[in-house]
């Protein structure tokens, strides 16, 4: 049985420990405010720490995110609450109160030293979603090598309770009896930085409903391209073949009324071009094709990036992919309708196909806090032009993709803006000018 045992007081609460949440937290902490960051996963870092490189600079994503994660973790003004669920966020008597559930790791966080002895000895292999499902982890595991905090957790749904982890743990950190704990965070202001997830890969039956081998999502390709990826090189997941021909299908989850995602996800063109360029480096002899409706290269340096990709020999085909089927030898057959020339329907075969899936929100505030969502299901901004981080709830701001699809550059800029709004709000409160 859970009971409310603790209550913590902070100036600011940040919900979400991805790049937006971390940037907001760091900006507030640097101004001397005490900040709590609540993250649903067992590690901070969000989607960005799972990427290979970023566009248009081709900087290593981990090299940018890891220092932010470490800075947040070591900042005296920031406390990280990972593997936590926000049950409610309400305002009473001028204070925001968040009811939080700490999910059990079945590992004592004060004792675990992250040595991974438990993980090496555990006999159960489980599909590793951190590696796009292309590798396996154990039932007791640390999410990835640069996870923060470096704490193991047990996936009880796959644990045989064999006792091996407890036997080998040098600090007696395993606690099979751990229970969920409920606590309250009180803060004067909050920032919602809850990020996004991709539209499901099996959503569209015309694209094989997730059943065609070697059709993967763009985030799965990020793992294939990452230095610490599942194979440490790009090979196709069905049989380990080094692909000679790779295709990208753009707008595979966006701008599609049939999927309920009529909007443009804004980053798919650029991440597809980025991945195509990285693939050209990793597999210099491979043919890379991008099937697109139109290329949206709107940011600083993006158009040049697109032109560079064309100059590198990446083939851009203006076409709509109508159908994806399994071909021979585990290849993928695409039925495409060309949108240039005579508009004919042609079939093309590739070794590996990447669906540029769209972005949808990863969190719905309904029933948790009185913040509403827009028609696109992302958090509604009340002054989208003049103050895009303001929500309908006083003292609660929004940052990053929680408010709508955007790239990392815009996410970080908006996270800074949200922190500034929160800082102003806190200063107004302390000077007694709040309404």
């Amino acid at each position: 049985m859970m009971k409310e045992t603790h209550s913590f007081q902070y100036d600011a609460l940040v919900i979400g420990g991805g790049i937006a949440g971390l940037q907001s937290a760091l900006d507030l902490a640097d101004q001397g405010f005490k900040v709590a960051v609540v993250e649903k996963d067992a590690t901070i870092g969000g989607t960005m720490i799972r990427l290979s490189k970023v566009f248009p600079t081709l900087d290593c994503a981990s090299c940018i995110t890891t220092p932010k994660m470490a800075a947040a973790s070591h900042n005296d003004n920031i406390d990280l609450f990972t593997y936590c669920q926000v049950n409610s966020l309400t305002r009473s008597d001028g204070t925001l109160k968040a009811s939080i559930t700490q999910k059990p790791r079945y590992v004592d966080p004060d004792k675990c030293i992250g040595c991974r002895q438990c993980e090496y000895q555990c006999p159960v292999y489980v599909k590793d979603e951190e590696q796009g499902g292309f590798s396996l982890r154990k039932a007791v595991y640390i999410p990835f090598s640069n996870a923060i905090p470096q704490l193991a957790l047990i996936d009880v749904q796959h644990c045989s309770l064999c006792g091996m982890c407890a036997k080998v743990c040098p600090t007696e950190a395993i606690d099979y009896f751990q229970q969920p704990e409920q606590f309250v965070i009180e803060a004067k202001t909050a920032i919602l930085a809850t990020g996004f997830k991709l539209t499901p890969i099996d959503q569209k039956k015309e694209y094989g409903a997730g059943q065609v081998a070697n059709v993967i999502s763009s985030l799965q390709m990020e793992r294939l391209l990452a230095p610490h990826g599942p194979y440490q090189r790009v090979i196709r997941p069905s049989d380990g073949k080094e692909p000679d021909s790779i295709a990208y299908v753009q707008c595979a989850g966006s701008r599609d009324l049939s999927l309920g995602v009529p909007y443009c996800s804004r980053v798919c063109c650029m991440y597809a071009i980025k991945q195509a360029m990285l693939l050209s480096g990793a597999l210099p002899l491979a043919d890379i094709t991008i099937y697109y409706m139109d290329i949206r290269a709107f940011g600083k340096g993006y158009e040049q990036f697109f032109q560079n990709a064309k100059a590198m020999g990446i083939e851009f085909v203006k076409a709509k992919v109508g159908k994806i089927e399994q071909g021979e030898n585990q290849n993928v057959l695409l039925r495409i309708e060309e949108q240039e020339g005579d508009g004919r329907v042609v079939r093309r075969e590739h070794d590996l196909v990447v669906l540029s899936l769209g972005m949808v929100p990863d969190w719905n505030p309904a029933g948790i806090c009185p913040v509403t969502t827009d028609t696109d299901a992302f958090i509604k901004c009340v002054q989208p032009k003049l103050a895009p981080t303001l929500t309908e709830m006083e003292g609660v701001f929004v940052a990053g993709v929680a408010a709508g699809p955007k790239d990392i550059v815009d996410t970080i800029a908006e996270a800074g803006a949200a922190a500034m709004e929160a800082s102003n709000y806190l200063n107004t409160l302390s000077s007694g000018q709040a309404a």
């Binding site: 590793d128 644990c159 309770l161």
Partner: protein, 93 residues
Amino acid sequence: MGKPDKEAMKALRQQRKAYIDRAKQEIKKQRKLIKAIKGQIREEAKTVPRIAAATKLPSDQVLLFIAAMRKYGQVIEVDKDGDYFTYKLSAEA
């Protein structure tokens, strides 16, 4: 946590029986599969399709376990054979 109480562990096992039974089944299947893969690459480095053909296992399953065994230090990548890389058991395995 010190050594868990025997009665409490018994109760916990009862509570998680469905998960435990499923995990035990998985362990059995996985051990058989890993043994079959190890048997193929103990002496000679082989590609995933060759291992799959010899063990009659689906090639995606073979690659999944090869990736996991590499991660935990049991398998190493050796050379390339056509479009495929070859894998062998590591000295530690």
